[in-house]
């Protein structure tokens, strides 16, 4: 049989024209970036304003840019896979290359697209929604970002240096162990996720502290906007779930680089333990990325229906119920491990139970629209598109929760269709709704509606054309993760249709990007700070918000504070009065978070190739940087009253 051989014994991956293309494009892009920065004399600007920033708004923007770029990268992976599968017995990609691509597709989409996207939204919206000037630990926030960034760099580097991981995004042992998967690819996976995971745990702690300790006076927990509530639920999940992943990754890494036997076949290793630990993180992870989308939909649906959210208390409690129950469903990812009747029954019923609070949320969103006035702006379009998609995905999810039925659907394209329906229809649609919704707040201009609608329809039609046939393919017995399939199984036509759908989504992405570029130049400027007639505090600020967010911290009396004040015609109460302005305490920028990221990158790279001198040097630098930070006593400063008054006057708020 033809099994091609990509060589990854040398440092650079060779043997495939696609890879040379990637090498060339990476070099060209890097040269281009360096040239532009030098030509326009922007190096200093980049360093001062961005690389050393601790401002949550800028960190949010950097997360956002990274997430969109990673969506592009992993989306390209997806299109390559769909091209390979469009027809049976194709040789566009060999098995090794295909295996690498589906692995990086999943890994990047979850860790380096969905995660930074939700972190972007947290950073952009949470402090503004709760009336805070920054997060609780701005310096730590910057460290989180740079750990994510350099983790992502490390994984992406594997494509051209050393070879990508190829054991699936779940990286099951023993397949991912050294015996069956030599070479650095799998090490890239383990180290990049470990590095970004540290950042994620820190973000979880950071935002819980921010939300619990830094709300404006009067904002009790039950007066918090629902997006902020969703971030509470998500961060509770993060701080309890990510450590399980960190341990699983660390043990597998020790197996690989130090010859231990935690998850090997021989010498008493327990491969199934890795799978359990992975999913103890993995299922909560689904809700870590989904709950913020729920929060976004709650904000958008109320704003664009001009109506109070229906069942606020039920919305809050359902999110908290989901965040607790989602810890008790992990084994539904492997009902077929032979756990026995009692194990499968428990996890089947627990998985179905999650459907109850989730279903309630759908009803609440719909009854928020009921007796409202629905404005079909881009954020609302994405929200409305989300509901049927999510309901269908939820329906197939209920079927998969029925353990005996899952014996038939497990690892089939039925499953692939299901989780893409949840992760695209749920998470990505939610992120897009948020992108259009908060874009004016972040950048000061509105994304063009016409481009947006074209992108919307390409995405939506493409989505159903791509994934509904995959349900049928599952019923026809097609397994996931096959790099090719024989003709004569009846799978060809549906696969071909599915590929067309994938490319429609690809066009949707390009149109969306085109819309962003168009809007940068021609988009409607947001001069009011409140382009959507919003309800929550962030819309009371100018767009973009000044560096310190609130010149005077507002006092909260109502859940939809801004909306209520507008109803009463008292918007001016949220404008600062000169006599109330005091010096504002802010954190100083710092280069150390960036340098810590570099040091982690060096250490990770060293471990990937077993170059322990480099690894040790990286770890040593991390310790030094942490020590230096502990002896730094002047990490903050005060913005004088004059400067605040000056800024606010320029914004027309005084």
């Amino acid at each position: 049989m033809p099994i091609s051989h990509l060589s990854h014994w040398g440092l650079l991956v060779t043997g495939d024209p696609l890879l040379y293309g990637a090498d060339a494009s990476i070099i060209l892009a890097s040269v281009g970036i360096v040239f532009v920065l030098t030509y326009f004399k922007k190096w200093k600007w980049l360093w001062r304003e961005w690389l050393t920033t601790v401002d949550h708004k800028r960190i949010g923007i950097m997360y956002l840019i990274a997430a969109v770029l990673m969506l592009f990268r992993a989306g390209t992976d997806a299109l390559m896979m769909r091209t390979q599968l469009a027809l049976p017995n194709q040789h566009f990609l060999g098995p090794e290359h295909y295996d690498q691509i589906f692995t990086t597709h999943g890994t990047i989409m979850i860790f380096f697209m969905a995660m930074p996207f939700i972190f972007a939204l947290m950073n952009i919206a949470v402090p503004l929604q709760i009336g805070a000037r920054d997060v609780a630990f701005p310096y730590l926030n910057a460290i989180s970002f740079w750990l994510f960034f350099f983790g992502a760099m490390l994984l992406n580097l594997s494509f051209v240096i050393g070879g990508s991981p190829d054991a699936g995004w779940t990286s099951y042992a023993p397949l991912a162990g050294l015996h069956f998967d030599p070479g650095p690819g799998e090490n890239f996976y383990l180290l990049s996720l470990q590095i970004t995971g540290i950042g994620s745990i820190a973000t979880g702690i950071n935002f819980l502290a921010t939300i619990f300790k830094m709300r404006a006076p009067g904002m009790t927990l039950m007066k918090m906007p629902l997006f902020t509530w969703s971030i509470v639920a998500t961060n509770i999940l993060i701080i309890f779930a990510f450590p399980a992943l960190a341990v699983a990754l660390a043990l597998l890494l020790i197996d690989r680089i130090a010859g231990a036997h935690f998850f090997t076949i021989h010498a008493g290793g327990l491969p199934m333990m890795y799978i359990n630990m992975f999913w103890i993180w993995g299922h909560p992870e689904v809700y870590i990325v989904l709950l913020p989308a729920f929060g976004v939909f709650s904000e958008v649906v109320a704003t664009f229906s001009r109506k109070t959210i229906f069942g606020y208390k039920a919305m809050v409690s359902s999110m908290l119920v989901i965040s607790v129950v989602s810890y008790f469903v992990w084994a539904h990812h492997f009902f077929t491990m032979g756990g026995g009747v009692s194990v499968n029954s428990f996890f089947a019923v627990a998985s179905m139970l999650i459907g109850i609070p989730t279903g309630v949320k759908v009803f609440n969103w719909m009854f928020t629209m009921y007796r409202g006035r629905i404005r079909m702006k881009m954020p609302m379009l994405w929200t409305i598109a989300f509901i049927p998609c999510f309901v269908l995905g939820g329906a197939s999810g209920m079927m998969l929760a029925v353990a005996p039925v899952d014996y038939q659907f497990h690892n089939s394209y039925f499953l692939v269709a299901h989780f893409h329906e949840m992760l695209i229809g749920g998470v990505v649609f939610g992120m897009f709704a948020a992108l259009y919704y908060w874009w004016p707040k972040v950048f000061g201009f509105i994304l063009d509606e016409k481009w947006g609608r074209w992108a919307f329809w390409f995405w939506n039609i493409g989505f159903y054309v791509c994934f509904e046939p995959q349900y049928a393919l599952g019923l026809m017995g097609m397994q996931r993760r096959m790099y090719t399939y024989p003709s004569g199984m009846g799978w060809t036509a549906l696969n071909f249709i599915s590929t067309i759908g994938a490319f429609l989504m690809g066009i949707g992405f390009l149109v969306m990007a085109g819309g962003i570029v168009y809007s940068i130049f021609k988009g409607e400027r947001d001069l009011t700070g409140d382009p959507w007639d919003g309800r929550t505090l962030e819309w009371s600020l100018p767009s973009p918000a000044p560096h310190y967010n609130f010149a005077v911290i507002p006092t909260i009396t109502d859940r939809d504070q801004w909306w209520t004040l507008k109803e009463q015609g008292k918007q001016d109460t949220l404008r600062p009065r000169p006599e109330d302005i005091q010096p504002i305490h802010m954190p100083k920028n710092s280069a150390k978070p960036f340098l810590i990221g570099v040091a982690f990158f060096a250490a990770g790279f060293g471990f990937v190739f077993n170059w322990y001198v480099l690894a040790a040097a990286g770890l040593f630098c991390i310790v030094i940087l942490l020590l230096v930070r502990s002896f730094e006593y002047h990490s903050d400063y005060h913005i004088p009253v004059d400067e605040v008054v000056h800024t606010e006057t320029a914004l027309g708020r005084l």
Partner: protein, 300 residues
């Protein structure tokens, strides 16, 4: 206008009915999951049908209601629909939409647990024949079937008699795979160092497609096998034929099979004593409850 509305509704129901009928009855044998050839796959399909009906009770009204609400309350000049910006609470409505999912999950949960229990038992035999055992070892990238009753072995295909419950005892001598014959029933993992049991049975003769379902690396796409169900008389003939004509699987032959590669179908008239048991023991020796007894009684 009224007639139009009625006709539209009739069309909707007809379309919905057709869709349901397709799912419930199966369409074309290429939809393997909808064309069960044995009691296990049949039970699983029945449960799938029940779950579809229960879920349709929720999702059809939801999608209908969504379309209605979005249409009726859209923000256009002159829309006469009521506007009530503070309507955010209704005890009765909330009881309904907490209640309905709870009832549906309760029903689905009970059916699920019952079926889970029943599928752990051997399926009802149609021929009074006592159940038989086949030991399955997944290798990179092939399937080894050992018949302890006849001491013969095959690679990438298995013959079974129609109407006889077969317990497949599953293990792996390579990274975990999953043993799946869609038309006979759902899959189960093959794990190194463990022996799991999966009951399957074919009620009609046929050549059934089987495939590894859990990713095992480069050759995974080629881990296809066939389960060929034949009437008892023909099965006995096949056994006799294999015993007289096929070569023996030696220890060296077994080691060669374990080398990662892709091979075609192979047949052996015998295999090294206790090789399945030893494979499980070498890698950890964990047995699913009562598979240990099966193994011990077969080999010792």
């Amino acid at each position: 206008m009224k007639a139009g509305k009625v006709r539209r509704r009739t069309l909707t129901y007809a379309g919905l009915g057709a869709a349901v009928a397709i799912f419930l009855t199966g369409c074309g044998t290429q939809f393997q999951l909808l064309n069960p050839a044995g009691p296990v796959a049949r039970t699983e399909l029945n449960l799938f049908d029940i779950s579809i009906v229960l879920i349709l009770i929720v999702i059809v009204p939801v999608i209908g209601l969504l379309l209605y609400i979005v249409y009726r309350y859209r923000d256009i000049p002159g829309n006469t629909a009521p506007y009530d910006p503070h309507f955010s609470d209704n005890r009765v409505l909330e009881f309904i939409w907490w209640g309905i999912p709870i009832i549906i999950v309760a029903i689905l949960g009970v059916v699920t647990v019952r079926t889970t229990i029943s599928l752990a038992q051997p399926p009802g035999s149609t021929s009074n024949a006592s159940p038989m055992t086949i030991e399955v070892t997944s290798l990179d990238w092939k399937w080894l079937f050992q018949y302890p009753g006849h001491k013969l072995a095959t690679v990438n295909y298995a013959e079974i008699p129609v109407g006889v419950p077969v317990q497949f005892i599953l293990t792996s001598n390579a990274p975990m795979n999953s043993f799946w014959v869609p038309r006979l029933g759902g899959q189960e993992y093959t794990m190194p160092g463990m022996a799991l049991r999966l009951w399957l049975q074919a009620n009609q003769p046929g050549d059934y497609y089987g495939h590894g379902a859990n990713f095992t690396g480069r050759g995974f796409a080629h881990t296809t096998f066939h389960v060929i169900a034949v009437p008892m008389a023909k099965y006995d003939q096949w056994v006799k034929h294999v015993k007289t004509t096929a070569p023996a699987l030696t220890l060296t032959g077994y080691k060669n099979l374990a080398i990662p590669n892709v091979v075609g179908e192979l047949t052996y008239s015998s295999y090294p004593a206790n090789s399945f048991y030893n494979t499980v023991m070498n890698d950890g020796g964990r047995f699913m409850p009562s598979t240990m007894q099966v193994e011990t009684s077969l080999h010792h």
